[in-house]
């Protein structure tokens, strides 16, 4: 797909990320689709950091391979991103123009395929401020010129971003203009992008989950800060007053989830969110929600484990944890949005599912999805809030856990007249009374287990169909879940162009698996499961559920898949003779 990739590289503290965001916004305001990638360290200052924006007239599904424009804020960045030997977990080295301060950065190796465009960033910035803080703005101005875009849209963004600071905005606009003019005059347009007249929104996955939750009527959020779930926390905190949200950071994750359970039990939509380590602490309470049948939405943004792992990197390694959380068998639903737009949509869906089925519903994201910014595609703000089954006040026949065919029983909300009852983490009968107090009733126990588990059977009948992508009649199928959607779909397009017969299957309803997947898996030559983890956690689930042979492609170096990288691996797989997958070897 025709697209342009611009990368800003520097050290932590250099303002790489905010410059990147301005760039993304500016391109988006030109009517271009964008997708970004944020590379940083678990470190406050120093360390390497970079931010990449990919833009196109068409929907941009991932951060992209290739690199057209590099803004290097220090020497290290210039050398690193131009060196063809260096490959940051799949990112491409530069083949295009390098924008940098030629007076500050002098010691670098020159490569043939690169046009070096030094600009006196600091000198220009010094005109406006003695600390030359506006260097980045100058460089961004130059970039807009290199892309042949007009100055006005860009200057609008600058004004908005620095607007609160009045004078500061003005200075930034002037500095940007100087950069813009200098570039145009000195080097001329590098690669012309064409603005499209349409209004596009951009957001990170964390913000999109937040927007979706608010759209779904969420009124309370409980959390303990943890990267990369914090983008949602910050979204809620920043919008608490505007959206009437109660946002509470508790002393730990255990408290957060128990408070969220209390709130949902009391009839208000509440969510909790965390990353893998914090979620581990929550796992006991997941079972509590499962047993007492309290609706609960849990947002889990993954980062590479085990343990503290790589706190600022990405991975999809927590599916086993989510599926295993809490002792004993109980129903749960796991959703995994494939991109920012789906993050919004599935957050909305999650709240209704929780209310209708009265169980814990997970929204699984990961650092890549949660923190990178992308164009929101077809945002629909309409929403029908499903309250699920609620008993009528004073209903004389009310049984909180009635054994129904669907497995779903009527709830009663504290404050409702004449429906006082007990919700119990101990096994209980239809009324909520504990079955093991005087004498255990093995029969009732079995019926209660079956009643709860039946909810999944009911749900399976009502699940939306699984998303197949160009998979009709394809000999080969790539299956994925979560944030690898975009990269998989893009390489499917490319591989079809190369003559391969291949399609994709996006499993964004991860648990329970939709029975319709069986049909999608049938009659394929090979089934490749792509996951951003080591062991193939979805792969294991697919195999146990559908007993099909699969091949697995994993990535566990902390970075997301890049299209070229993944394409090469899939192509290689398709080119070798199909051998029986070794039984028991899912790696």
């Amino acid at each position: 797909m025709e697209s342009t990739v611009i990368r800003i590289g520097g050290a932590a503290g250099d303002g790489v990320q905010s410059a990147g965001l301005i760039l993304a916004k500016s391109l988006s305001r030109n009517g271009l689709y964008i997708s970004t990638y944020n590379y940083y360290q678990s470190l406050i200052r120093g360390g390497e950091s970079w931010y990449q924006v990919r833009a196109s007239e068409n929907v941009v599904k991932n951060q992209g391979s290739g690199l057209d424009i590099l803004i290097a804020l220090n020497e290290d960045a210039l050398n690193r991103h131009t060196n063809p030997g260096i490959n940051e977990g799949g990112a491409s080295p530069l083949s295009g123009i390098a924008i940098f301060d030629g007076e500050m950065i002098t010691n670098y190796k020159k490569y043939q395929n690169i046009k070096y465009c030094p600009i006196p960033l600091r000198d220009i910035a010094l005109k406006y401020d003695k600390n030359s803080l506006l260097k980045n703005t100058v460089a961004l101005g130059a970039t807009m010129a290199a892309l042949g875009l007009g100055f006005d849209t860009f200057s609008g963004v600058i004004q908005e971003v620095f607007g609160k600071k009045g004078k500061v905005a003005e200075l930034n606009v002037s500095a940007a203009k100087d950069g813009y003019d200098y570039y145009l005059k000195t080097y001329g347009i590098f690669k012309k992008l064409h603005p499209v007249n349409r209004k596009l929104y951009i957001a990170s996955g964390g913000e999109a989950v937040g927007l979706g939750a608010v759209n779904a009527g969420m009124q309370m959020y409980f959390a303990y800060p943890m990267t990369p779930a914090s983008s949602a926390l910050h979204f809620f905190a920043n919008h608490a007053k505007k959206y009437n949200l109660f946002v509470k950071v508790t002393e730990d994750e255990i408290s957060a989830i128990n408070a969220a359970i209390g709130a949902n039990y009391a009839g208000v939509r509440a969510m909790t969110g965390t990353s893998g380590g914090g979620f581990a602490l929550m796992s006991e309470a997941v079972g509590l929600a499962g047993m007492t049948e309290v609706p609960l939405v849990i947002y889990e943004a993954q980062r590479p484990g085990p343990s503290t792992g790589l706190p600022t990197k990405t991975e999809q390694g927590d599916l086993n944890q989510i599926l295993g959380a809490g002792q004993g068998d109980f129903p749960r639903i796991v959703l995994a949005p494939g991109n920012v737009t789906e993050a919004f949509d599935l957050a909305k869906e999650a709240f209704n599912l929780a209310a209708e089925y009265q169980l814990p519903v997970f929204i699984m994201s990961d650092l890549y999805l949660a923190e990178h910014v992308e164009t929101l595609n077809n945002i629909d703000l309409t929403y029908k809030m499903e309250h699920g089954l609620i008993a009528q006040d004073n209903d004389p026949n009310f049984k909180r856990y009635e054994f129904t065919e669907s497995g779903i029983s009527k709830r009663a909300i504290p404050g409702q007249k004449g429906l006082m009852h007990n919700e119990d983490s101990d096994e209980h009968d239809e009324y909520g009374n504990v079955v093991s107090d005087e004498i255990t009733d093995p029969k009732i126990r079995s019926l209660s287990m079956e009643k709860r588990m039946r909810k999944l059977e009911t749900y399976k009948k009502n699940m939306p169909p699984t998303n197949a992508y160009r998979a009709d009649g394809a000999e080969n199928l790539i299956s994925q879940w979560g944030s690898t959607k975009g990269v998989v779909e893009e390489i499917v397009d490319d591989l079809i162009d190369e003559g391969f017969s291949i399609g994709a299957l996006e499993i964004n309803h991860v648990y329970p698996l939709n029975p319709d997947i069986a049909g999608h898996l049938k009659n394929r030559n090979r089934i490749i499961v792509v996951e951003n983890n080591f062991s193939g956690q979805l792969n294991r689930l697919i195999k146990s559920e559908f007993l099909v042979k699969t091949e697995f492609i994993g990535k566990y170096d902390g970075e997301a898949f890049y299209p070229d990288e993944l394409k090469a691996r899939v192509r290689q797989m398709l080119n070798i003779q199909y051998e029986n997958v070794k039984i028991g070897g899912d790696k």
Binding site: V214, M220, I254, G262, A285, N422
Partner: protein, 284 residues
């Protein structure tokens, strides 16, 4: 008019004969009746332990959750719906071991709930191990050579945390306990009651006899004097040396008072915010 009958639970309490929990059930019920509160507006949350079976035995809304987690559940409920009276009722193991952190931080926040602990100085339900309040030297199932863990002082803990109401009751004095409970429920802010509650089965060291001789009632103490309360809470002995009653009570803003949102509205009774196209503007 609300009567005791309104609160009569459908399940007969299955505590051992003489168990202190019976008194607490009685005291809570009486206090609610005295305050003329309707059962549908009361929620009792509990942890896991003999004590925590309480919600089954009283006709209110009940949430019998996890060991040690009754306080955050209670706060979540209160924050969602300020019209409810929320009482967290649990054990000493439950609240002073497993739930140590929640007790402190929610007391500090001065959330408007009542937290009562059935302090029997032992793990009852798990058949008699040492609890955080078991005295030194006591032999239990998991301390066969005598307990060496210094006991936890619940009143000191609550005071240091900043609870705005701190009291001690005794199951052997239902009348006194009822009064304390009533005041605690009436109190605006975090009210904590530690109840000396005999476990007739596993606590062979501090039972009714011991306490009957040991306790006395606080009178004329300055309930706003933190240090006086703290010092009184250090008193312990066998000859009318254990004070019961309200040690500390002050009027201060609750967490709910300070929060921008729930100080103004009840979330339960307010429609959620409706997102509009305008709200997307910041993402443009």
């Amino acid at each position: 008019m609300i009567t005791m009958d309104n609160y009569k639970g459908k399940v007969r309490p299955d505590w051992c004969p003489g168990c202190g929990n019976f008194s607490q059930l009685r005291a809570i019920t009486e206090a609610l009746v005295q305050l003329n509160i309707s059962p549908e507006n009361v929620v009792i949350t509990s942890g896991i332990g003999c004590s925590s079976n309480m919600p089954e035995f009283i006709n209110t809304y009940g949430y019998h959750g996890l060991h040690g987690r009754l306080v955050p559940v209670a706060a979540g409920i209160k924050w969602a719906n300020p019209d409810l009276k929320v009482i967290a009722y649990g054990g000493d193991g439950d609240g002073f071991f497993e739930g140590t952190q929640h007790f402190y931080h929610f007391a500090k926040r001065n959330v408007d709930i009542t937290y009562m602990v059935s302090d029997n100085q032992v793990f009852g339900l798990t058949t008699g191990q040492a609890s955080p309040t078991t005295p030194i030297g006591i032999v239990t199932k998991d301390t066969p050579d005598g307990n060496i863990e210094p006991p936890f002082n619940p009143l000191h803990y609550a005071l240091t945390a900043g609870a705005s109401f701190v009291a001690r009751g005794f199951s052997g004095d239902i009348k006194g306990l009822t009064e304390i409970t009533r005041e605690a429920i009436k109190h605006r802010g975090f009210s904590f009651i530690d109840v000396l509650s005999p476990c007739t089965t596993y606590n062979k060291f501090n039972g009714y006899e011991f306490y009957r001789k040991a306790v006395y009632k606080l009178e004329n103490n300055d309930k706003t004097d933190f240090y006086q309360a703290y010092k009184l809470a250090s008193e312990w002995g066998d000859n009318h040396a254990i004070p019961t009653g309200i040690f500390y009570e002050v009027d201060k803003p609750t967490y709910e008072d300070a929060d921008e949102v729930i100080s103004k509205i009840s979330l339960k009774n307010t429609d959620p915010y409706k997102l509009s196209e305008e709200d997307l503007q910041e993402f443009y």
